[in-house]
Homo-oligomer: 357 residues x 2
DNA sequence: TTTTAGCACTCTTTTGTTCGGAGTGCTAAT
DNA sequence: ATTAGCACTCCGAACAAAAGAGTGCTAAAA
């Protein structure tokens, strides 16, 4: 394939780019005459027609029906995105908007991601996606217990990613403030740094032994810890700006739109897709490149948010295959830069924060 | 109005109900002939036509155009919901589904609500909504500080509603474990039970005085507390199953659908609507009854989730005005019952839990 | 006085037809 | 290798006609 790309003459590239641009702009098939007008090419429409026929043969273009113009194929888009794109410079206004909104939301990572995807959606007029990938092999770095009543305490856990989760626990046997402290101690001693499947029976037994008479508390606590680790494992995804999709004619077909919304609701597919991507850079998935069947005439662009080598989340854009890639890429790039700044700058007074994951 | 309702003859009621039922079923206008066939009435279509004309005059029916059948008006639906509805009995299968899913999700209230709205959406085939109303005048019952490093601690707050919020704090001046404990102490002493606007300067001053040399810590902490209270104040709303909407012809008009999705995205309107409702019972808002302009041909049904007299959240259903009210009401009723059970039963081993709001 | 049958009328929806435009492919000339 | 020209194809808009559904009204029946 790469060698074929090389094989494209300068003029073919120009024509291909012109077609993709025009199709992104207008949505319909693009004809030879149109290109001739909106592009300074020193040749006639007939020549363009010939070139287009060749481009079609090579797989970069498609023809909806015999006497229609050409539409970029998946391969055509891929080529466009990979090599023809003109970087879109964000306006200062847009940059200011990003700064304002994200600064204001400087809070939990969830909130930042959500705000970012919202913003991305509004800036680009496509659908925004905020993703928190499932954190596999997560562990707990610190336990803390808040004693409330004789049968009621709150178990708090600080995870290895720095986020804090809590759970209310109601005990069958009465506890005291001191007992709660002791329990916290035992938990910290034995479970620190362990992930869900590293908590083995021997460890539990030892903890029970150490708690003596109150060993029943251990069991309850362990169960809660386990639940907690599992919850952290789940991954989340939130979508914003679906209404934007409706403005594009490709989604005026109710059936397909419904299918697309369906996959957006199910979430697993996209969540998998994003978390399986090992690249830390922007990914562009066009149409059926992404095993998710439904996305045939859609494209998904996303950028992971990375800190200290760990992927904490991702923001993305979902839109029609003919989306304005230049703008989308620039927007995501800009946003992710801001987010990374925001969560990287630890020396503030308010400080970065992570609430319940 | 009530007197007008009274004025409806038995036959008029029967006809009205038949029309609403038929329209809910089919979606289109309902004609006199159709009613005659699907209803055992001892009269002819002409009589029915006369009755329908009268019902229209009284405001219960509408005619899309001169020679079409009749469609229930807003008033017609209202009457139907208020007095004609046959309670829909949930199948045991549905009940089992509810139990399974909710039990499994027994975790944070957010999660329960979300799961419930999801379930409601699937059971009814409309769009589900999970709402956490803004908790005005919320206060913090307990502070706790987890010391991490010399310039980094986690501030944890247990709110009056029992949920737990946390924030990482990075300090400008170095702290110690002991100092962190002292700070927690001061916070607990002075801020317990206060809402955001009850934290006055004198209180802050006194706290600073009490902290002596380390008074700068107080300021930073207060700011965090303040942020935290504000975040709690926000209210949240999540939507599931928008794809269901597309199956109803009333939403095949892209423009209107887009508007509706727009209001769903904005959230404030619906959030206001729900939190302003003082009833603890199921509310049914039909069309323009709810100031939200867009919902002209939609209806919103929601049920608050109440515990100890406090509204903790709400689950709802959004769908076309001609929705299957019987089923929707029964589903929400069933779900809310289960949720109330779930969060009410405090004496379990795993226990109810509230993570970061 | 209420109900009913019958019929004329209205409005929508569907279907078929026509027609123009846009765009291509091909061929022959440059 | 490029171009002009032309025949051909296909789609979609516009229009007309027909079919269907349902009403309102009138006059007769109960």
């Amino acid at each position: 394939m790469a060698s074929e790309n090389r094989g494209l003459t300068e003029r073919k590239k120009q024509i291909l780019k012109a077609i993709v641009d025009a199709h992104i702009e207008g949505g319909g098939p693009v004809g030879s005459k149109y290109i001739l007008q909106n592009q300074q090419l020193s040749c006639s429409s007939a020549t363009i027609r010939n070139e287009m026929a060749e481009l079609e043969e090579m797989g970069y273009l498609e023809q909806p029906h015999a006497s229609a113009g050409r539409v970029p194929s998946e391969l055509g888009y891929r080529f466009y995105v990979d090599s023809l794109i003109e970087r879109y410079a964000m306006t200062t206004h847009e940059i200011a908007q990003i700064n304002d909104l994200l600064k204001a939301k400087m809070g939990e990572l969830d909130q930042i991601l959500l705000a970012a995807s919202n913003l991305a959606s509004n800036l680009t007029n496509y659908t925004g996606i905020a993703i928190k990938p499932p954190v596999s092999a997560i562990s707990i770095n610190k336990f803390e217990i808040i004693y409330l009543e004789s049968d009621h305490y709150i178990l708090i856990a600080v995870t290895s990613t720095g986020s804090v989760k809590s759970k209310h626990v109601h005990t069958a046997t009465p506890i005291s403030q001191a007992l709660a402290a002791k329990l916290a101690n035992v938990l910290n001693q034995h479970l620190k740094g362990l992930s869900a499947n590293e908590i083995t029976l021997p460890i539990i037994m030892e903890m029970e032994a150490q708690m003596g008479y109150e060993s029943s508390l251990v069991n309850a606590a362990i169960k809660v810890v386990y639940d907690l680790l599992n919850e952290l494992d789940e991954g989340e995804m939130r979508v914003s700006g679906i209404d934007h999709l409706l403005q594009y004619p490709e989604y005026s077909d109710v059936g397909q739109l419904q299918e697309l919304l369906g996959t957006l609701e199910k979430k697993e597919d996209i969540l998998n897709l994003v978390s399986r991507s090992e690249s830390q850079d922007i990914s562009v998935l066009i149409g059926s490149e992404s095993e998710v069947k439904v996305m045939n005439n859609s494209a998904l662009v996303f950028k992971p948010i990375v800190k200290d080598g760990k992927t904490l989340g991702a923001i993305g854009i979902l839109g029609p295959r003919r989306m304005d890639y230049a703008k989308v890429l620039a927007t995501l790039e800009g946003l992710s830069g801001n987010i990374t700044n925001l969560i990287g700058s630890n020396k503030s007074n308010g400080g970065e924060s992570n609430g319940g994951n």
